[in-house]
């Protein structure tokens, strides 16, 4: 049952920050409320003051700078808005598709990207796929603004580096390097994902339509895994194993073979996920699944012209 609280509706980030400073531990940022209100109803969290940041103009905007290729997402942008943003659809199609697969339509309509990252619930899609980009986040507090890599925001389950009086304001996502394509695959049958694997890859020579890609060599690759463990991570060891190999060598499946490099990368990715036993399944199973999904995501990434994503259980 939701206990009474006072709702504050600031119209600037500065006001929000000072309200948070004034009420200290009694106050919390309230955005879509899909996590916060649920936890408060369950009596897991108690706050006497909620600071609604949806009333702050500008935080719900998406901007794309053609020149720098930088995407700027306001913290209060909803999953639905991301899914349908024309700029994201044309320049970051993988993000648009992945956002269309977050949660269910009701949560997407209300839940925000900022809320997702700040709640730091381990079973999160954006937490993983945004690591494929060198994503930065902008944070504002009483002392001003700071910008840090996304990887530094999340410390662990339900834990971020934000101070009580800091607000996440913006997420900055740089475009993939020229020629890189990506795929994000998630798996699970519960409401939240059991695991997610993102791969982005650039191969050379960049093949043209219809031409066989098998002989191409991996010149840049990123691997991110999430949801299975305490937090999403990039897996540099797996990336190194894939670098410099030909696609044929890494994906011999069509010839019935196995790639020792890919298998080893899968194993390392599974390990790096630090998969936990929970209601979604055993850590052992998730570790195995991350390996399976690394192969599938890699195959999907090299085979698409545009970065893309698949839906659960597909």
């Amino acid at each position: 049952m939701l206990r009474p609280f006072k709702l504050h509706e600031p119209t600037s980030v500065d006001d929000a920050v000072s309200l948070l400073g004034r009420f200290g531990e009694e106050a919390k940022v309230y955005c879509g409320g899909t996590e916060l209100l649920l936890a408060m109803k369950e009596g897991l969290l108690r706050y006497n003051h909620l600071v609604n940041i949806k009333t702050i103009p500008g935080l719900d905007e998406v901007g794309y700078d053609q020149g720098s290729g930088m995407l700027s997402i306001g913290a209060t942008v909803t999953h639905t808005a991301l899914e349908h943003s024309p700029q994201i659809q044309s320049h970051f199609p993988m993000i648009a598709e992945a956002e269309g697969n977050v949660a269910n339509v009701r949560v997407r309509n209300v839940g925000t990207i900022g809320g997702n990252l700040c709640f730091s619930e381990p079973h999160s899609d954006p937490g993983a796929f945004l690591l494929l980009f060198d994503t930065q986040v902008e944070i504002q507090g009483p002392g001003g603004q700071r910008t840090i890599p996304l990887a530094e925001l999340t410390l662990g389950p339900f834990e971020t580096c934000l101070e009580d009086d800091e607000v996440l304001t913006r997420i900055l996502v740089p475009q993939f390097p020229q020629g890189m394509t990506g795929a994000y695959l998630k798996f699970g049958y519960h409401a939240r994902p059991t695991l997610g694997v993102g791969v982005s890859v650039r191969v050379e020579p960049t093949t043209s339509d219809g031409e066989h890609i098998e002989r191409a060599v991996v010149t840049e690759v990123r691997v991110a895994v999430g949801s299975a463990g305490p937090k999403a991570v990039r897996v540099a060891e797996a990336e190194q194993l894939l670098m410099g190999k030909t696609v044929a060598e890494l994906l011999p499946g069509s010839n019935g073979g196995e790639s020792s490099n890919m298998n080893e990368a899968s194993r390392l990715a599974g390990r790096a996920a630090d998969a936990m036993d929970d209601i979604h399944g055993s850590g052992e199973y998730k570790e195995h699944m991350i390996g399976v999904f690394l192969k599938r995501a890699f195959a999907k990434a090299v085979n698409t012209r545009q970065p893309t994503v698949q839906s659960p259980l597909s």
């Binding site: 399944g281 055993s282 199973y285």
Partner: protein, 747 residues
């Protein structure tokens, strides 16, 4: 001439429901009503040393606190079979979430605050979480013994049967604890006064709740009134008495009507389906003839008996399947453990029984090299044959139904290919069958009243609870058909025990069959009265009269029903009443023998399996229901599809998980129920209509059959795709993956 029966006429509650106008218990505002909340035990098994509620009682806004110390003058125990469940905990608590105290306050926030002021001192007791432990001598006991009930079925000599068998198979299967997840959690508004009790409640069986409350609170039946508005789904979770005694006792201490609306989490801690362990030993001839079967069934009934003893009985009966057994020996027990009490759930005991029985039929078929469809048909009882000793012979024809299901999924094509096919490197497909037979209908105890008003329209009064199954529409169709009036001239009032006549229960697929008959009888009585009046009017013998479209016809002349009533009473006044009685002796005694009828559950599934992940997809699922006559075909299909999906839920992912006696997943984020995303690509229902049911127009009930054989159909398909047999449900991707890995010898 048919007006409405057999047609997919729109439900009479459709508009109310899709516009949100339909009122459920939770929508009602009773004058003076206050709000109740329950304090629940954090421990699965503990002695309650002391409860101090003085501070809570003193909190402004609190009208009353209920604990074991406030039950004076109340018989605090209830239970449909064994009266072992107290309104609130007495000497000890037996499961996590058991009600220990309750508060009534002017608003929920105050009630919540008051709950936190109640001090309860517990002394933890050793926990019994598994049935195996529960039955070990000397293990901690929940009640006097942990064996709640034991049922036996015996005929023929199984030992001799096994000796005569060419092959004997023995397998053990387990079935998970699952929750009904009706959309609406249990909600009751209790109003106690010295003159009697009124309760608005989510009750499937309001008349049985009435008798319980009358006994517990010391009233006679006319002083207890149970009102059931629309119900947001039951599936057995709202059968018998659940939260009503607590709501009434709380109202008694508060002196006000008290509303008790459970959360989803609390509903998970009110009732569930029995987990089961079933061992089946079957002796067969090499040609596939079944010779003998012996079964040992254990059902986890949780902390209180609820309907467990009956569920154990039904599981024991239903594990024989739709087959001929020269000898059969079954022992079926309900066992207490420290968990949410288990009770009725859509086709009680049957999904558990069919899971074991039908999985083993495929094991046998494979071993003997016989087609799973053929071995079933070979052993299946046919029309007119005795199904269980001493019970009603079979009125239907399950073999035809099974053949239809098999045909619909293209069984023969697959038989030609022998087994599973690889679709791509990771995907394989296979097809599987499952079927079962359940004696249903409970007892033939239903009454109805059909009132014809002076304008010729009808009000039909029934005690059937409209819980989404469409009973109001089906009853209206029966009355409309019998009296040749249009559907929109019929209203059906259901479930106010002081207004509508008696009905035993809404469950066991019985309402259209038995209440339908009562309504039909009531309508016929009205018709007879109309004909009598018309005979006077036309000065003609009744034999020369007929009715059509709300008129009585006589030699080319006609008169409206309403005009006849007006003629009798004078002026625009009066009404006619028709009664319907369904009893063991009514209808020439043809309903007396048990069961009222046999309900088949027949499923065929085509399954696609990802061998790398263990994930299952269902491209095609077929369910067959034998309905005798579909009063409303669209609603029959809806019932059957719903049952099939609910069956796929416990087949693929549903399971209540306990750790140290604590329920880990009492919410929809962690307890997965099927959603639209899990619908098979093609979900088909085939209705068999042979007019051989005991209900009106040859109908018989449905709604339970579709859930029964989902598990074995899917697991049998997995076996045919991979050669791997899984004997535990649910078939989560991880469980399937592990089974495949074990089969490959990698584990």
């Amino acid at each position: 001439m048919t007006t409405t029966v057999g047609k997919p006429v729109p439900r009479i509650d459709a508009l109310d429901k899709v516009t949100g106008r339909a009122a459920y218990v939770g929508d009602l505002e009773i004058p003076g009503m206050v709000h109740g909340l329950i304090l629940r035990s954090p421990w699965p098994h503990a002695r309650v040393l002391s409860i101090d509620s003085t501070e809570a009682e003193r909190l402004p806004g609190v009208l009353g606190v209920l604990t074991r110390d406030h039950l004076e003058g109340i018989d605090a125990y209830f239970g449909s079979v064994v009266r072992d469940r107290p309104i609130v905990a007495m000497d000890k608590v037996r499961y996590q979430g058991e009600p220990v105290a309750a508060v009534a306050a002017r608003d929920l926030a105050t009630a919540q605050e008051a709950l936190e002021l109640i001090r309860v001192e517990y002394e933890e007791l050793p926990l019994v979480s598994e049935m195996e432990e529960a039955l070990v001598p000397g293990s901690p006991a929940l009640h006097e013994t942990n064996l709640c009930a034991e049922q036996h079925y015996d005929w023929g000599d199984v030992e001799e049967g096994f000796a005569q068998s060419d092959r004997v198979f023995e397998d053990t299967f387990t079935f998970p604890m699952v929750y009904h997840y009706a959309l609406e959690p249990h909600t009751s508004i209790g109003h106690y006064t010295n003159q009697g009790i009124t309760v608005w409640s989510t009750a499937q069986h309001p008349f049985l709740v009435r008798s319980d409350l009358a006994r517990m609170f010391g009233f006679s039946l006319h002083q207890v009134r149970i009102i059931v508005p629309y119900l947001g789904g039951g599936f057995g979770s709202k059968s018998y008495t659940k939260m009503e005694p607590l709501a009434v006792a709380l109202s008694k201490v508060a002196g006000r009507p008290v509303r008790l609306a459970l959360s989803v989490e609390e509903a998970f801690k009110t009732v569930r389906r029995h987990a089961a362990r079933l061992t089946v030993k079957t002796g067969v001839k090499l040609d596939g003839t079944f010779v003998a079967r012996e079964c040992l069934i254990y059902l986890d009934t949780g902390a209180y008996a609820d309907n467990g003893p009956l569920v154990a009985g039904r599981a024991g009966e239903r594990i024989a399947g739709p087959y001929r057994w020269p000898s059969l020996k079954v022992s079926s027990s309900a066992v207490y453990t420290n968990s949410t009490p288990a009770g009725s759930f859509r086709s009680i005991g049957a999904p558990q029984a069919a899971w074991a029985s039908e999985s083993q039929v495929d094991i046998i078929a494979h071993d003997l090299g016989i087609d799973p469809l053929e071995i079933r048909i070979k052993n299946m009882v046919s029309r007119g044959e005795e199904v269980r000793r001493g019970q009603r012979p079979l009125e239907g024809d399950p073999a035809t139904g099974l053949r239809l299901a098999a045909e619909a999924v293209g069984w023969d094509d697959e038989a030609a290919e022998e087994s599973g096919r690889a679709v791509s490197s990771a995907l394989v497909t296979g097809k599987g069958l499952g079927c079962n037979l359940s004696g249903v209908g409970s007892s033939p105890t239903s009454t109805a009243l059909v009132r014809m008003h002076v304008d010729g329209t009808l009000t039909v009064l029934v005690g059937t609870t409209e819980l989404g199954q469409g009973s109001r529409s089906a009853m209206a169709q029966v009355a409309s058909e019998e009296l040749t009036v249009p559907m929109d001239s019929v209203d059906v009032i259901s479930s106010d025990t002081s207004i509508v006549p008696y009905d035993r229960s809404t469950g066991s697929s019985r309402s259209t069959t038995l209440m339908g008959l009562a309504v039909q009888d009531g309508a016929i009585e009205v018709k007879d009265q109309l004909l009598e009046l018309a005979a006077l009017h036309f000065e003609s013998p009744v034999e020369e009269l007929s009715i059509e479209e709300g008129q009585v016809l006589c030699r080319g002349e006609s008169i409206g029903f309403g005009e006849l009533i007006q003629e009798e009473f004078g002026g625009v006044a009066g009404e006619l009443m028709g009664r319907g009685y369904v009893t063991p002796r009514s209808h020439g005694g043809r309903l007396a023998q048990s069961p009222v009828f046999w309900e088949v559950g027949i499923s065929a599934a085509e399954v696609e399996l990802d061998v790398e992940t263990g994930a299952i997809r269902i491209p095609h699922y077929v369910s067959v229901a034998d309905v005798g006559k579909a009063i409303n075909p669209q609603q029959c299909e809806g019932q059957d599809e719903g049952a099939a999906m609910q069956g796929l839920g416990h087949t693929l992912f549903e399971e209540m998980l306990y750790e140290d006696g604590q329920l880990l997943n009492p919410n929809l984020i962690d307890y997965k129920v099927p959603t639209f995303a899990e619908l098979p690509d093609k979900l088909e229902t085939i209705l068999i209509e042979n007019g051989d049911g005991p209900g009106p127009f040859g109908s018989k009930g449905l709604g339970e059959g579709g859930i029964v054989a989902a598990g074995p159909a899917v697991a049998n398909a997995i076996f045919r795709a991979t050669g791997v047999r899984i004997k535990e449900l649910p078939l989560t991707p991880e469980r399937v993956w592990r089974a495949l890995r074990r089969a490959r010898g990698q584990d």
